[in-house]
């Protein structure tokens, strides 16, 4: 489920969406191709993975054995669609030959990158990312990577290797919703150097050596506790609803996280939550960012939100009593 913020963010920068159809290819290879294309195509272009029967195809990826069929030939000639044939035959490096045939492996394919640039991107409206125009700098690049990662994580059947400049963080499987964490990085933080790639066979074989955990919980905690990772800039007046309470894996910030969860599980406006809990907007945005990355919830409309903040000051005996009581509970429990 795409969150609107991701779509809006992309659209506001490019106004252009690339429609790519993949046909006749296994879902595993298809997912590999999607990851590579997402990495190659700049993030200010949104990608829609569409059906071959759809109207506006910008690029068609078709298995080479189906290329000569009547239906495909007709489609390509009539609509003059840009296409790439995909082969099963592994080569030592990925390459594209004259007849538009792409051979696996697909990762780090310079030839694919060049081909996409020359055959596809050069023909799209020139809307290079204007960081200065949006008044943002390096942090926005990280946000773009986060959007790219977020979209990849929503693919239903991929195995990824997540790493940063310290090395491997984890191997993850979006189908089984599990993460295998590098044992030396169990409660790690990460930063701008966070990156990902398709997991290799050898890495998947060695997961038993790592610490297995729930993928969504791990992602959430990684993004919350990594203070150097900047968050997605959700506007204050936006409303968000989470699907479940994230489980913090450290005691630090636990109270804050649970209070934020108690608000957003009902669907709430960021500014109202910020006021009730007396937190800076950046903290609330960080919470929502971590939820978006871990695919927990979505932006909602005001009518869908259930949380109501009453900003009339209450000076009743009960409120005073409750505050005192909670304070003592926390202090006693060390919360």
């Amino acid at each position: 489920m795409q969150s609107n913020i991701l779509k809006d963010l992309s659209d506001s920068m490019s106004g252009h969406c690339i429609n790519i159809a993949i046909s006749g290819i296994s879902s595993k290879i298809s997912d590999e191709l999607k990851i590579e294309l997402r990495k190659i195509i700049p993030n200010h272009f949104d990608i829609d993975w569409i059906n071959i029967a759809s109207q506006n195809i910008d690029l068609l990826l078709i298995h080479e054995k189906f290329f000569e069929t009547q239906g495909i030939q007709q489609l390509i000639k009539q609509k003059k669609i840009l296409f790439l044939k995909v082969s099963n035959e592994h080569r030592s490096v990925s390459s594209i030959l004259e007849n538009n045939v792409l051979f696996p492996p697909f990762q780090y394919s310079e030839t694919l990158k060049k081909w996409i640039q020359s055959h596809l991107l050069n023909y799209l409206p020139n809307q290079e990312y204007q960081g200065e125009q949006l008044g943002l700098t390096a942090s926005k690049n990280e946000t773009i990577n986060l959007i790219s990662l977020s979209k990849t994580l929503r693919l239903e059947n991929v195995q990824l290797h997540l790493f940063d400049h310290h090395g491997t963080l984890a191997i993850i499987d979006t189908y089984r919703k599990l993460a295998w964490i590098e044992p030396t990085r169990l409660h790690t933080k990460t930063n701008y150097s966070l990156n990902y790639e398709y997991a290799k066979e050898i890495e998947l074989t060695n997961i038993y050596q790592k610490y297995e955990t729930d993928l969504q919980d791990w992602l959430w905690n990684l993004f919350w506790y990594s203070s150097e990772l900047h968050c997605l800039d959700l506007a204050e007046n936006e409303y968000y609803k989470i699907d479940y309470w994230p489980q913090p894996n450290q005691k630090v910030d636990q109270k804050m996280i649970l209070q934020l969860s108690a608000c957003f599980i009902q669907g709430a406006q960021l500014s109202q939550v910020m006021r009730q809990l007396k937190l800076p907007i950046e903290t609330v945005q960080k919470f929502i960012s971590a939820c978006i990355i871990s695919n927990n919830g979505k932006i909602i409309s005001a009518t869908e939100s259930r949380y109501k903040y009453n900003d009339v000051p209450i000076a009743t005996e009960q409120q005073g009593f409750l505050n005192k009581f909670f304070g003592k509970m926390r202090s006693r429990f060390g919360l």
Binding site: L258, A262, Y307, Q318, Q319, L322, M329, S331, R332, L335
Partner: protein, 180 residues
């Protein structure tokens, strides 16, 4: 809402760890009402709670919070409404190792939500049964659009029980303030 009874109630399936959870927190030796378990089909353990376990924590000003543990089996259901009355909240513990943990959870939730609105759910023994995935609980929460906090925990770990109590407190604070 005036809080007069400082109590937190632990309910849930037999063997889920209710008595253990209270023992991990209580600063007094837990008053346990256990008897010899003759129903080995339901659970293999030797002892089972048949009355109300009682543990306690004292706040700085001398106010006490009672931690009440209840028997999980349906034949003791007469105890449940009595003990939940006026509680700060209810913690439901479910043993992931049971045959049908999700059905059990549903059953306890349907029963206890009529006794107390403030509920937090803990799934225990998650390492013992790798045949059932633990993702079933989150999927169930999402499918039913429930707002209850649900965590995977070890009932013997004080930190995990505190996480659950903290979620009850957070819910109360946010909703009480919002209501007021």
């Amino acid at each position: 809402m005036i809080l007069q009874q400082y109590k937190i109630v632990f309910v849930g399936s037999m063997g889920a760890g209710k008595t253990e959870a209270i023992k991990s927190l209580s600063e007094i030796p837990v008053l346990a009402t256990e008897a010899f378990n003759t129903d080995s089909k339901a659970h293999n353990k030797i002892q089972t709670t048949v009355g109300i376990d009682y543990g306690e924590i004292t706040l700085d000003d001398g106010a006490k919070i009672g931690l009440y543990g209840t028997p999980g089996q349906a034949r003791f259901d007469f105890i449940w409404p009595l003990i939940c009355k006026g509680a700060l909240g209810v913690i439901i513990l479910i043993d992931h190792n049971n045959e049908a943990p999700l059905e059990e959870l549903e059953s306890y939730l349907n029963t206890f939500k009529s006794y107390n609105k403030n509920i937090s759910i803990g799934i225990t023994h998650i390492d013992e049964n790798t045949n059932h995935s633990t993702t079933i609980y989150r999927e169930w929460i999402i499918k039913n659009k429930y707002a209850y906090p649900l965590f995977l925990i070890d009932a013997r770990e004080k930190e995990h029980i505190l996480l659950m109590i903290e979620s009850l407190v957070a819910n109360l604070e946010v909703n009480f303030k919002a209501m007021s």
